[in-house]
C-alpha cells in the first residue's frame, strides 16, 4: 500500500488504513469520523468484554455449583437410602434372632406345630410384614405364615428344608442376606432356635421381597424417589406414582449404569422418568458373598436446576443488552469529547505546515489536548519571530561578505582601514563609524572614520575624524576590557552619555575590539542617530565577528610591511646556525672515538668471560677423574693388605710349589680378564651365585656359600668354574676358600688400577684439547686446518656444559681450510654454548658438515651447521641476533656480544653466517670459503679492529660524511 501523505495520518499518528479515500472529503470530517469510530469501538469493547467474561464465568460458576450441589445431594440421598435399605435388612435379621430366641417359641417347638402356629399368630403384631417360616431341627416345616396380608406379594418366595439357608440355620448359623429369586430381589434372615444349653430346636426364616412396596417404605423415610432392581432384570421397581397416585410401570435401568454397577462402582446419571428429568444416583446391592445381586437408585428432580439455568440465561441476555446500550452511549459521548479538539488541533497543524503561521488554534481547556494547543500557539509565535530574525541576519551576512571581499582586495594598511570603516558604516547603516589602531606605544590613533549627515550622504575625512576623536576614551575602554560595548540609548548611560553626545552621538552605539592572536590591535565603533533602530545584541556580535575579520586584514597589511626588514635578519641568523653545526660535528667525532675505546674493552671482556667459562668447565672435567683416582688409591691400600693376607694364608697351607704357582698363574690370568669386564648387575650376581653354589656343591667342595659369593661378585662365569675346581679339589680342605678370596681381591686390585688408568687418560685428553683449542703452540695466522678437529676440541672442552645434551655428528669429508684456528674455535664455542643455553640443558644438538659452493662466482667452500631442537628464536628477534649487544639471555647470562663477534670472525674469514629458526629447530650455518683470497673483495685486506668498531656503531643515524676518516666500503664485506 502506498504510504499516505502526512495529512492522511490521524491524530494518534497511526497510518491510515484507507489512504485511497478521496482527499477532498475534507481532512476534518474524515479524521473525526475515523477517530470517533475507533474510540467508540475500543470503549465499547473495553466495557463489554470484561463484563461478558465476568458474566460468563459467573453464570458458569453458578450453574456448575448448582449442578454439583444437585449431584452431591443425590449422592448423599443415595448414601442415606442405601443405609436405610441395609438397616432394614439388618432389622429383619434382628427380628429373626429375636423370634428365634423367644423362650416361648422354644417351648412351642417342643409342644408341636399347632403351638407354634398359635404363637406366631399372636406375635404377628411384633413381626415385620414378611413371610415367616419355621422348621424343626431336621428342617421339616413347622409353620409358614404371611405377616401383614397380601399373600400374593410373597408368593413363590418360600424355602424348603433342603435350602442352603435352612441348612446354615441347622448348623446354628445366623445370616441376613439379599438374594435373587427368579428376577425378584428378596432379603432373607435365618436364625437357629435353641434352648438354654444351645441345643438346636429349629430354624426361623424371614423373607421380604424388595419390591415397590419396599421402595415406598424407603421413600417415606428418605423423602426422595427410590428405585430397586434385581441384577437379572432390566426394569426397576420404584416408588414413582403418576398424578393419580397409581404406581408407574418398571423404570428401565440404563445399560451404561448396569455396566458400571456390575463393575462395583457407584454412579450418577440423568434420566427421564414419567415425563420429568431426574438425577438418579445408583449403587449396587450385594449378597453376603459380595456378589452384585441388584441395583438401588435414588432419584432427585432436576426441575430446580433447569429453571435456575433458564433464569440465569435470561438475566444474562437482558443484562448484556442493557450493558451494550450503556456502553454505546458512553462511548459516543466520550469519543465526541476527545475527537473534537483533536480535529481542531489537526486542522491547525495542517495550516502551520502549509506556512500559515497566523492560523489560530481555538482549543481551550486544561487537559492534555488544551496544553497541546497552547504549545502549538507558542510554537507558531516562536516560528514567526525566528523567521524575522533569520531574514535580518541574512542581510547582515551578505553585507559582511562584501566587506571582507573589499578588505582583502587591498594590502596597504591605510587603505584597509578605510575599507573597513566603509564596510561597517554601510552594513550597520551607522551615523558615525570610526576605526582606531593601536600603535607601537600602545596609543589608540584614528585610522579611518566616516560620518553621515541626514540627507547629505556620507562624509569621510577630517570632519568625521574630528567627531571620532571625542570618542577615543570610549575606544580606550573597549580596548582595555577586550569586550564589545553596546549602548542602546545614549541618554540612559550617565557615565558615557556626555562624551558621546559631545561627539554627536545621541542615538545608540556599539563598539568592538579588533583582536589578533590574543592581542588587541584596534577598536571599531559605529553609532546611530536617535531616530534609527537601536543596536541589538545580535548587531554587537556581528560587529565582533566583523572586527575579527578586519583585524586579520589589518594585521596582514602590517606584516607585509615587516617582511622586507625581516629578510635581512634571517640571513644573519643562518650564518650563526652554520657555525654551531660545525662545532657539534667536532664533538661528535670525539664521542665516536670514546665509543671505539669502550668497544674494544667490551670485546676483550667478552673473550675473558668465555675463557672463564672454559676454565670452569675444564676444572670440572679434571676434577672428577682426579676424585676417581683418589678414591681408587685409597681403596687400593685396603685391597693390597687383604691380598697379602690371602697370599699368606695360601703360603701357610703348605702346597707343593708347582701347584701353588699353577694357582697363582690361574688367578692372575683370570683376575686380569675379570677386571677388564664390566661389573655384573645385582640380579646377575644372584643368579651366578646360585649356579656356582650348585656346581661347587656338585664338585664336593666345603664351605661353598662363601666361595660362591666371592666368585659371583667378581663376575666369574659359572661355565668358567672347572679350572678352579680342578685346581683346588682335594686336600687341603681350606684351599678353595683361600683361592676364591685371593682371586676376588686380585680382581678388586686390578679394577682400581684400571680406574686410575682411565682417569689419568681423561685428564690428559682434556689438557691436550685445551692446548689445541687455544693454539698456544701455533702462530696466530691463517693456517690450513681440519675443521672437525676444532669442533671436536671445542666439544671436549664444553663436555661439562653439554653433559645432558645428546650431540649427534653428521660429518662430511672436508678439505683442509685456511682459518684462524683459535678464533674459529671461539665461533664453535659460541654457537654450541648458544645452542646449549637454548636447550636449557636438555635436548639434541646436531652438527653437520659438508662441501658447498656459493655465489657469487661459485666459490668452493665448506659449511658447518649447528642445529638444536630448542624452542627457537622468535621471528621478530631473528633479524637482530648478529647485532652486537643484542641478547635474549636474561641479565647476567651474557653480554650480548657473542653472536656479534661470531659474525665478525666469520667475516674476517670472508665467510658467511646465517640463521634460520622455528620452534624445534634452530640452525646456524657457517660457510667458509676454501680460498679466502678469491673472494670478490679480495683487494681489501681483512678488517681491522677499527673497522669492526665502525660496523658496531652502524646503528647510529649520524651521516657517515660527518664521521672522521673512514671507508664506507667495509660494509660490502659484511653484507652477505
Amino acid at each position: 500500500m502506498a504510504r499516505p501523505p502526512a495529512r492522511d495520518r490521524d491524530a494518534t499518528g497511526r497510518a491510515s488504513q484507507t489512504g485511497r479515500a478521496p482527499r477532498r472529503a475534507g481532512p476534518l470530517g474524515w479524521v473525526r469520523l475515523r477517530l470517533r469510530a475507533k474510540l467508540t469501538a475500543v470503549l465499547v469493547l473495553a466495557a463489554l468484554v470484561p463484563m461478558a467474561v465476568v458474566a460468563t464465568i459467573a453464570v458458569g460458576v453458578v450453574l456448575s455449583t448448582l449442578e454439583r450441589g444437585l449431584h452431591s445431594e443425590t449422592a448423599r440421598q443415595r448414601g442415606v437410602g442405601l443405609n436405610l435399605v441395609l438397616r432394614t435388612v439388618e432389622r429383619l435379621g434382628d427380628d429373626a434372632a429375636r423370634l428365634s430366641a423367644m423362650g416361648d417359641l422354644a417351648r412351642a417347638m417342643v409342644e408341636g406345630k399347632a403351638a407354634v402356629a398359635m404363637l406366631l399368630a399372636g406375635q404377628a403384631a411384633q413381626l415385620p410384614s414378611s413371610l415367616v417360616q419355621v422348621t424343626d431341627a431336621d428342617g421339616q416345616p413347622v409353620a409358614d405364615l404371611v405377616v401383614g396380608g397380601d399373600a400374593a406379594r410373597f408368593a413363590g418366595l418360600g424355602l424348603d428344608g433342603a435350602s442352603e439357608a435352612v441348612r446354615l440355620g441347622r448348623r446354628w448359623g445366623r445370616r441376613v442376606t439379599l438374594e435373587l429369586v427368579g428376577d425378584r430381589l428378596v432379603m432373607r434372615a435365618v436364625a437357629p432356635v435353641v434352648d438354654g444349653s444351645l441345643a438346636l430346636l429349629g430354624v426361623v426364616v424371614l423373607t421380604v421381597p424388595l419390591d415397590g412396596a419396599f421402595a415406598d417404605g424407603i421413600r417415606s423415610a428418605l423423602g426422595a424417589e427410590v428405585l430397586i432392581a434385581a441384577a437379572s432384570s432390566a426394569g426397576a421397581r420404584s416408588s414413582f406414582r403418576d398424578a393419580l397416585g397409581a404406581r408407574l410401570p418398571d423404570v428401565a435401568v440404563p445399560a451404561a449404569v448396569r455396566a458400571r454397577i456390575t463393575g462395583g462402582a457407584a454412579t450418577t446419571a440423568s434420566q427421564p422418568i414419567g415425563g420429568r428429568e431426574y438425577e438418579v444416583a445408583w449403587t449396587a446391592l450385594v449378597d453376603h458373598r459380595g456378589a452384585t445381586v441388584g441395583v438401588f437408585g435414588v432419584a432427585v428432580d432436576r426441575g430446580s436446576v433447569s429453571s435456575a439455568k433458564t433464569v440465569a440465561f435470561r438475566s444474562l441476555a437482558i443484562g448484556g443488552a442493557v450493558a451494550l446500550m450503556f456502553a454505546l452511549g458512553l462511548a459516543a459521548v466520550l469519543s465526541r469529547r476527545i475527537g473534537q479538539p483533536i480535529g481542531r488541533l489537526h486542522r491547525g497543524a495542517v495550516a502551520i505546515a502549509r506556512g500559515d503561521l497566523d492560523h489560530r488554534i481555538d482549543v481551550g481547556g486544561t487537559d492534555e489536548i488544551g496544553e497541546l494547543a497552547q504549545a502549538f500557539r507558542h510554537m507558531t509565535t516562536a516560528l514567526k519571530e525566528n523567521q524575522q530574525r533569520l531574514a535580518a541576519r541574512m542581510r547582515e551576512i551578505v553585507a559582511l561578505h562584501d566587506a571582507g571581499r573589499a578588505m582583502s582586495s587591498v594590502i596597504e594598511p591605510g587603505q584597509v582601514s578605510r575599507k573597513v570603516v566603509d564596510a561597517v558604516a554601510r552594513t550597520f547603516d551607522g551615523q558615525l563609524c570610526a576605526l582606531w589602531l593601536l600603535d607601537g606605544g600602545g596609543e589608540l590613533t584614528i585610522a579611518a572614520a566616516r560620518a553621515r549627515r541626514p540627507g547629505r550622504g556620507t562624509q569621510a575625512g577630517a570632519d568625521a575624524s574630528g567627531a571620532a576623536a571625542g570618542l577615543t576614551p570610549i575606544a580606550r575602554e573597549v580596548a582595555d576590557t577586550r569586550a564589545h560595548l553596546r549602548i542602546e540609548r545614549v541618554g540612559d548611560d550617565a557615565r558615557r552619555g556626555d562624551a558621546l553626545r559631545a561627539a554627536g552621538v545621541d542615538g545608540s552605539m556599539v563598539s568592538a575590539p579588533l583582536e589578533r592572536k590574543g592581542a588587541v590591535v584596534g577598536v571599531i565603533l559605529v553609532a546611530r542617530a536617535p531616530g534609527e533602530r537601536p543596536f541589538t545584541e545580535a548587531d554587537a556580535s556581528l560587529l565582533a565577528t566583523f572586527a575579527d575579520q578586519a583585524a586579520t586584514s589589518i594585521e596582514n597589511a602590517r606584516l607585509y610591511a615587516q617582511v622586507v626588514g625581516a629578510s635581512e635578519e634571517l640571513e644573519r641568523k643562518v650564518r650563526l646556525r652554520t657555525a654551531e653545526l660545525t662545532q657539534i660535528n667536532l664533538e661528535l667525532g670525539k664521542t665516536l672515538a670514546d665509543l671505539q675505546e669502550t668497544q674494544s674493552q667490551l670485546i676483550l671482556s667478552e673473550r675473558m668471560a668465555g675463557l672463564g667459562l672454559l676454565v670452569a668447565g675444564v676444572a670440572h672435567e679434571i676434577n672428577s677423574p682426579s676424585a676417581a683416582v683418589r678414591g681408587s688409591v685409597e681403596a687400593m691400600g685396603e685391597v693390597v693388605s687383604r691380598l697379602t693376607r690371602h697370599l699368606d694364608a695360601l703360603a701357610a697351607l703348605g702346597l707343593a710349589a708347582a701347584r701353588r704357582e699353577a694357582i697363582v698363574a690361574w688367578v692372575e690370568a683370570t683376575g686380569r680378564a675379570l677386571a677388564a669386564q664390566r661389573l655384573p648387575t645385582g640380579a646377575a650376581v644372584r643368579r651366578a651365585q646360585r649356579e656356582l653354589r650348585a656346581r661347587l656343591d656338585a664338585a664336593g667342595l666345603d664351605d661353598v656359600a662363601a666361595q660362591a659369593r666371592d666368585l659371583a661378585e667378581i663376575g666369574l662365569d659359572p661355565d668358567a668354574l672347572s679350572p678352579f675346581v680342578a685346581l683346588v679339589a682335594g686336600e687341603p680342605r681350606g684351599l678353595p676358600v683361600v683361592v676364591a678370596g685371593y682371586l676376588a681381591e686380585y680382581v678388586h686390585l686390578h679394577r682400581n688400577v684400571l680406574t686410575i688408568h682411565n682417569a689419568i687418560g681423561r685428564i690428559q685428553r682434556i689438557v691436550g684439547a685445551l692446548k689445541s683449542y687455544s693454539h698456544l703452540d701455533q702462530s696466530a695466522g691463517l693456517v690450513e686446518a681440519d675443521l672437525h678437529e676444532g669442533i671436536e676440541t671445542t666439544l671436549t672442552i664444553l663436555d661439562y656444559a653439554l653433559r645432558a645434551i645428546t650431540v649427534s655428528r653428521s660429518y662430511g669429508t672436508l678439505p683442509r681450510v685456511p682459518i684462524f684456528v683459535d678464533e674459529l674455535n671461539q665461533v664453535w664455542t659460541n654457537l654450541l654454548q648458544n645452542a646449549a643455553q637454548a636447550l636449557e640443558g636438555h635436548g639434541t644438538i646436531s652438527i653437520e658438515t659438508g662441501i658447498e659452493s656459493r655465489d657469487p662466482g661459485a666459490r668452493a667452500g665448506v659449511f658447518v651447521r649447528v642445529i638444536d631442537d630448542g624452542p627457537g628464536i622468535p621471528a621478530d628477534v631473528l633479524p637482530r641476533i648478529f647485532q652486537p649487544f643484542f641478547t635474549t639471555k636474561s641479565k647476567g647470562e651474557g653480554s650480548g656480544l657473542g653472536l656479534g663477534i661470531v659474525k665478525r670472525i666469520i667475516d674476517k674469514h670472508r665467510g658467511e653466517i646465517s640463521c634460520e629458526s622455528r620452534p624445534g629447530r634452530t640452525c646456524f650455518t657457517v660457510w667458509l670459503p676454501q680460498d679466502p683470497a678469491a673472494a670478490p673483495v679480495a683487494a681489501v685486506p681483512p678488517p681491522t679492529e677499527a673497522e669492526l668498531s665502525a660496523e658496531l656503531t652502524g646503528e647510529m643515524t649520524i651521516e657517515r660524511s660527518l664521521l672522521p676518516a673512514s671507508d664506507a666500503g667495509d660494509r660490502g664485506g659484511g653484507a652477505a
Binding site: 439388618e90 444349653s197 446391592l285 459380595g290 452384585t292
Partner: protein, 543 residues
C-alpha cells in the same frame, strides 16, 4: 489483530485465569482445613488416612503400656531391632541388619543399620539401643520408671546389654532362649531417641520420637492423634501423608462415620454389625489375625480330673460349634490346640476329641468302673463375668459348657467373677475347670506354650492354670527354647501339640477375630501377628 486488541485479549485471559485459580484455591483452602480437622464430611484430603478406634492410646512411651491402642501407635512411630515380615510371624531385619547368637545360645550380637536418624534428627546407633533397653532393665537408670510393665514379664532373662562399637550391640541372656529374637520384635523394646527421653522426662509419653515410618505430630487425648509421614524412612516412605487416629467409642457411631467417609478404617466392628458391613457395597471387612486362644482349662491336680479318661470325656462332651456360632457370634473358628492355625509351628493333632456325647458317657462309665469318677461329685467351673478379646460372651459359653457336661452326667457349679478376681482365683488353683485365654505377644509358639509349661505352675502366679506337669512336654518346651533352627523347633512343637492333645489338660475352644472395616478404596492394610495394623503400605486407590 491490533496490538491493543491482543493486549485486551491477554488481560481477559488473565482475569479468567485468576477467577479460575480463585475457585481452585478456595477449594484447596477448604479441603486443607477439613483435612486438618479430619472430621469434616466430604472433601477430605485424600492423602490423609483417618482411623476410628474405640479407645485412645494411654501413653506413647512403648515401655509403659500394654494396651493394644498404644501398641499400635508404637508400631507406627518406632522401629524395633527386628520385625515381622509383613503378614507373617517370620522375624526379619529391622534396625538390626543382621544378628547372630554364639554357640552357648546366650550371647546375641546385633549389627545395626547405618545412616538411620531419629525424627528429632539425632543419630540412631548402639547408644540408643543400649539406652532403650537399659532404662527398662536397670532400676538405677535415671529414666527407669516402676511402671514399665512388659519388661519384668517378657525380658527378665536379659542380663546385660553392651555396646561393642557404634553399630554393634551385644545382649546376654541368662540361658539359651530361641524365641528371644521374636521378643525383640515386640513394641516394648522399640528404640527410642535418648535425646528426646532426656528432654521430656516423664512427659516423653506425649512426645514420642522414634525412627519409624510415621512421625508424631499432635495428640489431643480422647480426641485424635495425628502422625505424619517420615519421608526419609529407611524402609521406604509411607504412601499416605498423614494418619489421624480418632477415638469414637460407640461402635455404631464408628460405623456411621465409616459409611459417610469421615473415617477410612473402623477398628473393632461389633459382631451384630458384620451383616451390615458385609452387605454394604462400599465397605470391606478385613479379618484380623486370630492371634489368641480361649480354652477350658482342666485342673489336672484335682480329684477325678487327674484321670486322662475323665478329661477326654469332658472334651468329647463339649459341642464347640454352637458356642462359636452363638456365643462368639460367628467371629471365631473352633480351636483344636493351643496354637492358632496361622501361628508358625501350628500342628493339627491326630487326637481331636470331636463332639461325641456317647463316647463321653462311655469314658465316664469306664472311669466310674475304675473308681476315679463319681457322678454325684460336683466340679467347680470358674469363668470371668467380663468379656475378654478371646472370649466375648464368657457367661454364655460357661452355661453352654455346663449344659454340655450335664448332658453326659457331669455336675458343675459355676463361679462368675470379674476378670481380675477370676485371674487371682485360677492362678491359685481354686478351680476344677476354668475358662481362660491368651493373646499372643510376639508371634512365637513359645509364647502360647508357656501356659502348658510345668515350670509355670507356682500357685499365685501360675500361668499354667491346668497345673499340667507333664515332664515330656516340659522337656520339649525347654529344648525348643534352646534350639535355633526353626524347622527343628517346629518339629519339637508338633510333638508338644500331639502330646497335649492326648493328655487333654485343656479343651481348646476357639480363636477369635476382631475384624476391622475399611472403605473399599483403601488397600495395603498389613496386620502384624500380634494384631496391630501397620499403615506403612496403606494407600487410597482413586475410583
Amino acid at each position: 489483530m491490533s496490538p491493543g486488541v491482543r493486549r485486551l485479549a491477554a488481560a481477559v485471559a488473565a482475569v479468567a485465569a485468576a477467577l479460575g485459580a480463585g475457585c481452585d484455591s478456595v477449594d484447596a483452602v477448604l479441603g486443607g482445613g477439613a483435612a486438618a480437622e479430619g472430621h469434616r464430611l466430604g472433601t477430605r484430603d485424600p492423602a490423609t488416612l483417618v482411623i476410628g478406634r474405640p479407645l485412645d492410646a494411654i501413653s506413647l512411651d512403648p515401655a509403659r503400656v500394654t494396651d493394644n491402642e498404644s501398641a499400635e501407635i508404637a508400631f507406627q512411630v518406632y522401629d524395633t531391632l527386628v520385625q515381622w515380615e509383613p503378614g507373617t510371624a517370620t522375624v526379619t531385619p529391622g534396625l538390626a541388619t543382621s544378628w547372630s547368637v554364639d554357640p552357648s545360645g546366650e550371647v546375641w550380637t546385633f549389627e545395626l543399620r547405618r545412616g538411620v536418624r531419629f525424627h528429632d534428627g539425632t543419630r540412631f546407633d548402639a547408644d540408643a539401643v543400649v539406652f532403650s533397653l537399659e532404662r527398662q532393665r536397670d532400676p538405677s537408670h535415671p529414666f527407669h520408671r516402676p511402671d514399665f510393665q512388659y519388661w519384668p514379664n517378657v525380658y527378665r532373662n536379659i542380663e546385660q546389654v553392651e555396646k561393642l562399637d557404634d553399630y554393634t550391640v551385644r545382649i546376654t541372656i541368662e540361658r539359651p532362649y530361641a524365641p528371644f529374637a521374636a521378643n525383640m520384635a515386640m513394641f516394648p523394646v522399640s528404640i527410642v531417641s535418648p535425646a528426646a527421653v532426656t528432654e521430656y522426662g516423664d512427659a516423653y509419653g506425649e512426645h514420642p520420637v522414634g525412627t519409624g515410618p510415621w512421625i508424631f505430630e499432635r495428640w489431643e487425648r480422647g480426641e485424635h492423634l495425628i502422625l505424619r509421614r517420615n519421608p526419609a524412612y529407611w524402609g521406604g516412605a509411607p504412601a499416605m501423608e498423614r494418619l489421624v487416629f480418632t477415638t469414637i467409642q460407640d461402635p455404631r457411631q464408628r460405623l456411621v462415620a465409616l459409611e459417610s467417609g469421615a473415617i477410612d478404617i473402623a477398628a473393632s466392628i461389633l459382631p451384630e454389625e458384620l451383616q451390615f458391613v458385609d452387605l454394604h457395597p462400599g465397605l470391606v471387612l478385613h479379618e484380623s489375625t486370630a492371634n489368641n486362644v480361649s480354652y477350658l482349662a482342666i485342673n489336672t491336680t484335682r480329684g477325678p480330673l487327674r484321670d486322662v479318661g475323665v478329661r477326654r470325656a469332658i472334651a468329647h462332651a463339649i459341642n464347640k460349634e454352637p458356642i462359636v456360632q452363638l456365643a462368639f457370634q460367628g467371629l471365631a473358628t473352633p480351636a483344636e490346640g493351643p496354637l492358632p492355625p496361622r501361628q508358625w509351628g501350628y500342628h493339627r493333632p491326630r487326637a481331636r476329641h470331636a463332639y461325641d456325647p456317647a463316647e463321653a458317657r462311655r469314658l465316664l462309665a469306664d472311669a466310674q468302673a475304675r473308681g476315679v469318677f463319681a457322678p454325684e461329685a460336683e466340679l467347680v467351673l470358674y469363668a470371668p463375668s467380663t468379656p475378654r478379646p478371646y472370649l466375648p460372651g464368657p457367661d454364655r459359653v460357661a452355661r453352654a459348657i455346663q449344659a454340655n457336661l450335664a448332658d453326659v452326667g457331669i455336675r458343675t457349679r459355676l463361679v462368675l467373677q470379674p476378670f481380675g478376681d477370676h485371674l487371682v482365683s485360677v492362678r491359685n488353683g481354686q478351680h476344677d475347670l476354668c475358662l481362660l485365654g491368651w493373646v499372643g505377644d510376639n508371634g512365637d509358639p513359645d509364647n502360647f506354650l508357656q501356659q502348658l509349661d510345668p515350670r509355670n505352675t507356682t500357685l499365685g502366679s501360675a500361668v499354667n492354670v491346668a497345673f499340667y506337669g507333664d515332664g515330656e512336654v516340659g522337656g520339649l518346651i525347654v529344648r525348643a527354647q534352646e534350639t535355633e533352627d526353626p524347622l527343628e523347633r517346629a518339629r519339637l512343637y508338633a510333638r508338644v501339640q500331639e502330646r497335649v492333645a492326648e493328655d487333654v489338660p485343656w479343651v481348646p475352644l476357639a480363636h477369635t477375630q476382631v475384624p476391622l472395616a475399611a472403605r473399599d478404596d483403601i488397600s495395603g492394610i498389613i496386620l502384624n501377628p500380634t494384631g496391630q495394623v501397620l499403615y506403612r503400605a496403606v494407600r487410597r486407590s482413586p475410583r
